[in-house]
């Protein structure tokens, strides 16, 4: 028995002459929650529809549990989808919506009843079973859609931006709840979203999709801290990207000049002296200090030009000597625009993202 639930091999999708997906290769392990993260129009919904069987790939193969799924209609696939608009049946009440899949499978009524109850308890909607779906709130409809898919125990659950229409507070609650349910059931989920914060909270692994290409796959931590390129780095949240020229490389540690700055960091790949590179430092990794730093590398002095108050923290825009603007996250609201400060960072937090 293979541990791979879903495998996509050299997948292409054309709409007429428009390329929607290009050479997608992806493996999802059993019990894993993989997020497909990408901006709108990146092809993530198309990818999900191909896995669910609503669209056929132009080229390439879809394997579920090692079985080739090309040409298999949705009703014969061991997948289930939670749709973006939820697609609850308006002519059925909550109970019958949830029971739909079991009724199609002609299960005995008492089994249907007990299973609906079970899944309704898991999602805390056991009080709503007699209601019409049109009488439910957004969050409740969300749960019903999830229950309807979970009850047929799909091998892979596909979720197409299901939390989109909810307000922020409810969305955050649902994210944690979904994660809890996924861990409890230990089932394979493929979750599509354009919200990087959602991806960070929810996923075991993330695949970053941009204009039909998978750019990066890995655990959220790997991708957040060691993004493959500038697009990924910027998509996962605010960051500082600095253009540098490599000065020396020694024992996996490189030194580079970036204008007046001297930056030292780990060389994650082979670097040549004189090579032009981009390095990334996340705003939360930069510390503000009030005295001049002891060393002249991985530090700078500058002036605060803007403060963006975000409640729990603030983003400071700091202009360093040669007009570079650094974004620095701080939890201490003690600074003022125009104040002169020193900043420093650790060489561990410097990431080379491209050459």
């Amino acid at each position: 028995m293979s541990r791979i639930s879903l495998e996509l091999v050299n997948l292409y999708k054309y709409y007429g002459r428009i390329l929607a997906l290009e050479d997608i290769n992806l493996k999802v392990e059993k019990g894993e929650l993989l997020t497909i993260l990408g901006p709108s129009g990146s092809g993530k919904s198309t990818l999900l529809k191909i896995i669910g069987g609503f669209e056929e790939p132009t080229r390439g193969e879809v394997y579920i549990n090692g079985e080739l799924m090309n040409g298999v209609p949705p009703y014969r696939r061991p997948t289930s989808m939670v749709f973006q608009d939820l697609a609850l049946f308006p002519h059925l009440n909550v109970f019958n919506n949830i029971a739909y899949g079991l009724k199609i499978r002609k299960k005995p009524l008492n089994e249907i009843r007990s299973k609906v109850r079970e899944v309704a308890e898991l999602l805390h909607i056991e009080e709503l079973l007699d209601r019409k779906v049109t009488q439910l709130s957004g969050g409740q409809q969300q749960r019903v859609a999830l229950a309807r898919s979970l009850i047929i125990e799909p091998e892979i659950l596909l979720l197409d931006e299901p939390l989109g229409p909810l307000d922020v507070k409810l969305r955050k609650e649902m994210q944690l709840e979904l994660r809890r349910i996924q861990r409890k059931l230990n089932s394979t989920w493929v979750y599509v979203t354009h919200d990087h914060e959602e991806a960070i909270v929810m996923s075991d692994r993330v695949a970053i999709l941009n204009s039909g290409n998978i750019i990066d796959v890995g655990t959220i931590r790997e991708i957040y801290e060691r993004p493959k390129n500038r697009f990924v780095a910027e998509f996962l949240g605010e960051t500082n990207i600095i253009e540098c020229i490599v000065d020396s490389v020694e024992d996996n540690v490189f030194t580079a000049f970036c204008g007046d700055l001297k930056i030292e960091g780990e060389a994650s790949r082979k670097l040549e002296k004189g090579e032009k590179i981009q390095v990334m430092i996340r705003p939360e990794k930069i510390k503000i200090i009030h005295h001049p730093p002891p060393a002249n590398k991985n530090a700078a002095s500058g002036k605060i030009v803007e403060i963006i108050y975000k409640g729990a923290y603030s983003d400071l825009k700091i202009e360093v000597d040669d007009s570079k603007i650094f974004t620095v996250k701080t939890f201490e609201p003690i600074y003022q625009v125009g104040e002169k400060v020193f900043i420093k960072w650790d060489s561990r937090d410097v990431t080379v993202i491209s050459g």
Binding site: P73, Y75, F83, A87, G101, I104, R105, S149
Partner: protein
Amino acid sequence: MNLKKIVGRKLSITLLYSLPAVAYLILFFYIPLITIIIYSFWHGEPLYRITRIFTLENYVRFFTEELSQNVFILTNLISIATFLVILIVAYPIAYFLARMTYGDVGLKIILLILIPLEMNYLIRIFAWRNILGENGLLNNLLMTFGLVEQPITIFFHSLYAIIIVVLHNALPYAIIPLYITIRSIPESLYQAAMDLGSNKLSVFFRVTLPLSMPGIAISFLFIYVPMMGEFAIPALVGGKTYMLGNFIVRQYLTIGNWPYASASTMSLVLVTLIVMFIVFKFLGVRRLYE
């Protein structure tokens, strides 16, 4: 200016605007209707002999006499049969237009179906006489190709002729509401049903059909209600078929028992209203505009 004056002026302008329509309705709808209601409670005999005394005998006669009972039942059966035939023809057309065409192509095709209906109602019926009649197009074709020896008669002066003509007349009234309801079912519902294990047939019976019930109900009303009062089509192509409309026309014009004819009319109106009420109440028509 105080509020009362503004409201008062607004009200008077509204009244002024609605005056022509109200006058028209009162003159040509409410006065005749009330006249019929009053007549239906008077005593009447053939040849326009009317005694102005209050009686329920006309209603009692309509619902108890065998002739009127039979005509009433037959008319209902024909109306329902016609509706079913039209539904079977219209549903696939509406389904195709709603789901297989893009943009407003479906609406344009519906417009094409509507255009022949601009032609006068009686002319259309006469056209059908020329097609279905003993020496009509249909029989000519059948005989030319040697399919029949003698002209066939079942399509003329028969129940079938009525259904064929009504099918032609009423098809758009079924296609349009069906098109609208089927079109309004989101694509994701079909996908969700398939996702949960429904094959195409099961999607149709569990999702498409229940969700197009409002459209079916509306087309039922569009066809059943006028059909209950129809008299021209049975008279011109129906042969011996005798519907409630013909029955009432005969009571008014040939026999001349106006109170009985009026009571028959009011009974027809009453039954139609009850049927409409039931359809509106139980077939989810309200979902259409909620």
